[in-house]
């Protein structure tokens, strides 16, 4: 009986010693690996993880090349695509909506294989978290839609407005939108996820109209500049004229 009593204690001490030895090994690794060498976690925001080859991140669709064939939507096992197309100019297919619900997406990459025109890609970007409170809506971050615009078909005018929002300096951008865009610029550092609302969303008429507006604005700017230059020139001439008079 007393031997059992001792045996249990010896077993307990041995078990404790095994555990303590294991964690002491971790501490030794920690000391050797300059403090962080043995860590199994990563210091994420400071140090970005090295992604494996063929990493599948967020989807990106080059809308310029996209024909709206909906192969991706058919290949998708969980239906996260919402694509709507319209006929414009009678025969040409115009994509008026191309949304990917990233909260559904399982990043399987089947859509990428299905795409016949090689315009849908999985990027290596994995970050959805924004840098300001306005962008906390993930889908909005990716597709530049406000929560009230998500899941609804946008008409051409709204689309144009959104596009102007991406131009950032254009008129009609609310403070929210500007903050949001600033956040995007800050966050993605040039890795553009959002090519989706590129020029492809415009009907050709809309495109020409926007171009006309831009040209008009450019002309106005140039006119203003010219006026300013003239005013400066006059101001420079004026002292000379006075000097001549006296």
């Amino acid at each position: 009986m007393i031997l059992s009593w001792i045996r249990e204690m010896v077993d307990g001490i041995e078990a404790t010693a095994i555990g303590v030895k294991e964690t002491l090994g971790y501490a030794r690794d920690y000391a050797r690996g300059s403090g962080i060498g043995s860590s199994v976690t990563s210091n994420y925001p400071e140090v970005e993880p090295t992604l494996p080859k063929g990493y599948r991140g967020h989807l990106f669709n080059n809308i310029e090349k996209c024909t709206g064939c909906k192969s991706c939507a058919r290949a998708c096992p969980i239906d996260c695509f919402s694509i709507e197309t319209e006929m414009s100019e009678g025969t040409k297919l115009h994509i008026s909506r191309f949304d990917i619900d990233l909260s559904k997406c399982i990043y399987c990459g089947l859509c990428e294989y299905a795409c016949p025109h090689d315009c849908l890609h999985m990027t290596r970007d994995y970050r959805v978290s924004p840098t300001n409170s306005v962008n906390t809506h993930g889908r909005r971050y990716l597709f530049r839609r406000r929560p009230d615009q998500v899941g609804r078909h946008l008409d051409t005018q709204e689309m144009a407005q959104l596009h102007r929002a991406t131009e950032s300096e254009a008129a009609g951008v609310s403070k929210d939108d500007r903050d949001f865009l600033a956040g995007i610029e800050d966050h993605t550092k040039g890795r553009c996820l959002i090519g989706i609302y590129g020029e492809g969303f415009y009907t050709p008429e809309e495109k020409s109209r926007v171009q006309a507006i831009r040209d008009e604005k450019k002309r106005q700017r140039e006119a203003a500049q010219r006026l300013q230059e003239q005013a400066q020139a006059q101001a420079q001439q004026a002292p000379g004229a006075e000097g001549g008079a006296s």
């Binding site: 001792i6 045996r7 204690m9 010896v10 210091n43």
Partner: protein, 462 residues
């Protein structure tokens, strides 16, 4: 009343005394808060090392720079203050401090403190407000008062009296009342269960702690902590041989017993049944939030620091250096206090580090295992050690009686054995223990798991 009740400043002496007392009270509070903050940061780092993580890496001391410039120079415009901060934070030393504090995340201790202080204090509507609020103060008071007899150095300590060791255990035991009151006052079944568990556990583990202290008191002939340390004085270079840990093999066993039992008394993880998060939410602290919860937390860490200090004093020679004590004693009083204080700090930091290491290594015991460990293992073992220690002291006789140690008169003579007697006892005990362990490994059979537990863990319903 002969000296009059009115002082020069026109303030009644009694009032002045009370104010002075209250101000003095702030010192242990501040010290404990700071110690608890540092211990908590230390614990996070230890847990990170053991768990192969990073621990805090982001918060730095730059908040201190901000506060130190913003508060005294509040009258300057903000832009100037920002510029000043930028200038200050690139000064050579401050830059290094900020860099390393950021790298090691040392600002976390300030951040955690601020978080705790600014959280809302919630009083449950069904709770007994008086008991609910009072319990935190009882726990805190128990820990703070026990710090009073911490023997930091030969001449630097708050108080030392003839029963300091008993006093410390008695006052620490008071926290039982606080925990039970907290559980009862919360009017919540988990809190009450946690409180009852805490009481059962702490009361059980006070016995092995008391037995270990009794053994040391018997050996040194005093209950004063300073006296116990003085009794471990050993002249010459190898002064660590005088420490209780090396004086007798029974003290080695007793130190393990004391350490385990004290860890259980602090409610730390292998024994944290009282506040087991996964079963009882947080035990007696379920209903507490913000600073009130923080006070329990501070109490726990202060308790830990206390245990580290007492452990060092009882078994590791307190503030004494392991390589020759006579040089340090010869120093001027101030430097003596500094050197002794540093040695004491190293000892108790080590013992706290081991406590944290064990916490993050071992899983939590079941309640029956915890109770069995106290009553079936530690208490008989401690009693046996006490008995054999007394026997060995009888054998030593009166041949090494000393009354003056370390320049300090001991209240009673110390029994000190000849070196060959100590060696004989070490060898004999080692041989007996080795024999018993070998026999136990061969013939002893571990007790089978209780049927109910087995069913629950292996076969039966979850």
């Amino acid at each position: 009343m002969a000296h009059g009740l009115v002082s020069l400043s026109g303030m009644p002496v009694l009032t002045a005394e009370i104010i002075a007392l209250l101000l003095l009270l702030l010192i242990p509070f501040g010290v404990s808060f700071a110690l608890a903050g540092i211990a908590q940061y230390f614990e996070r780092k230890v847990s990170a090392v053991v768990g192969r993580r990073y621990g805090p890496t982001t918060a730095s001391f730059d908040i201190l720079v901000k506060v130190c410039i913003d508060m005294p120079l509040f009258f300057l415009p903000e832009a100037t203050r920002r510029k000043l901060q930028r200038v200050v934070s690139v000064l050579p030393v401050i830059k290094q401090v900020l860099y390393y504090s950021k790298r090691w995340g040392m600002g976390q201790m300030i951040a955690d403190g601020v978080k705790m202080f600014t959280k809302e204090d919630i009083l449950p509507s069904s709770a007994d407000a008086f008991l609910f609020r009072g319990s935190t103060y009882i726990v805190l008071l128990a820990c703070f008062v026990a710090l009073a007899s911490m023997p930091i150095s030969q001449n630097f300590y708050m108080t030392d009296f003839s029963v300091a060791a008993t006093f410390t255990t008695a006052v620490t035991g008071l926290s039982v009342v606080g925990l039970l009151v907290a559980g009862w006052g919360s009017n919540n079944k988990f809190s009450l269960l946690g409180g009852i568990r805490a009481v059962a556990q702490i009361v059980s583990y006070e016995i092995p702690v008391g037995l270990a202290i009794a053994a040391v008191a018997m050996w040194s002939g005093t209950l004063s902590l300073q006296g116990m340390i003085a009794a471990q004085y050993h002249p010459g270079v190898f002064s660590f041989l005088g420490w209780n840990l090396f004086q007798s093999p029974f003290f080695l066993i007793l130190s393990v017993i004391y350490y385990t039992a004290a860890m259980a008394e602090c409610n730390r993880t292998p024994f944290d049944l009282a506040e087991s998060e996964s079963e009882l939410v947080a035990g007696y602290g379920t209903e507490f939030s913000g600073l009130r919860w923080g006070l329990f937390f501070i109490g726990e860490y202060t308790d830990m620091i206390l245990v580290g200090g007492i452990f060092a004093a009882l078994f590791l020679g307190g503030y004494q250096s392991p390589v020759g004590e006579q040089w340090i004693v010869a120093l001027p009083a101030f430097w003596e206090a500094v050197v002794h204080g540093c040695i004491f700090l190293v000892k108790f930091v080590l013992s706290i580090a081991v406590m944290m290491w064990l916490r993050w290594t071992l899983p939590r015991f079941r309640i029956d295992q915890v109770m069995r460990l106290a009553w079936v293992r530690l208490i008989p073992l401690a009693l046996g050690c006490l008995f054999f220690l007394a026997l060995s002291m009888l054998w030593f006789g009166e041949n090494g009686v000393v009354t003056v140690r370390h320049g300090r008169f001991l209240s009673s003579p110390v029994v000190r054995a000849a070196w060959w007697q100590i060696v004989v006892i070490w060898v004999a005990v080692a041989a007996v223990v080795a024999l018993l362990v070998a026999l136990a490994k061969k013939y002893g059979e571990p007790r089978p798991m209780p049927r109910a537990v087995h069913d629950q863990l292996v076969g039966g319903e979850p």
